[in-house]
Assembly symmetry: C2
Homo-oligomer: 142 residues x 2
Amino acid sequence: MTTPSPLSALTTRNTRLFTLLLERELKKTGLRIGQLPVLQALQDGKTLNQKALADFADIEQPGMTTLLVRMERDGLIQREPDPTDRRSTLVTLTSDGQRKSRNIVPVMEHLTDIALKGFTPLERNILVTLLERINSSLKEQL
Amino acid sequence: MTTPSPLSALTTRNTRLFTLLLERELKKTGLRIGQLPVLQALQDGKTLNQKALADFADIEQPGMTTLLVRMERDGLIQREPDPTDRRSTLVTLTSDGQRKSRNIVPVMEHLTDIALKGFTPLERNILVTLLERINSSLKEQL
DNA sequence: ATAGAATACATAACATGTTATGTATATGGA
DNA sequence: TCCATATACATAACATGTTATGTATTCTAT
């Protein structure tokens, strides 16, 4: 899309392209982008309930519920009742989830290297700083 | 989400926040984000077929079809057969679509001002340049 | 101790996108 | 001319997210 705002057009295009390439890379490992925050949050055998996962992934609770249903169906995670709180469901990675999650970091690093090709360390820092300032300003408006 | 890549985490977060605020602003005018490219492409009485709109919005054809079905249902656009090509459907804005589309640019400018609060012109230029370089690098990988 | 608020989860309806596939029409080359 | 191919659109199945709402459980303040 060509928007009236060069800035948001650029960051949106940026995110879209990165997401596209990431999705393509992840397909090789049988993962989907939406699953990444869950896999990351549960690395190293960690256990979290669904609310904590929704908070971590920055999505609403119903979205996390349906995501986890699909991930359980696909054998990536396990869900079991929290013995200390009967409202709560504890989520852990299966061994297959653990194994597949180990592919994520190398893929992200590879794509980041591609995105920042030719950037000096100074340019990387400037970019990060500017983006952080924008995020700050936007967050204030929430 | 906190990803292993500070860069993509930042741009993704950036896009997400901007989208959130934009969606909130647009709600006041009865529009949705997905509709923006269509409204923009058809401004000033322009007529395009569905394929051209999909290309402009950078989404696949079936996605555009369902979007246009909803927009027609909501009275934003009109669809009629192309007399010169019976495969093709010509899309135009209704007067309500025209009217609502005029709110878009001010909203985008307002949000961009918020996002870039405190930026000097130089900083704006640097940011745009760096993002364009990233977009270039990513596009090469497609 | 208990009533009311808060919390965790599920479900439904929907928006927005994807890929895969089918149908109808148009077009270009033998 | 006519066949193969390309093009425009629709439909289906699905992923991923939203808001609104319901249910069950827990917590808190009286």
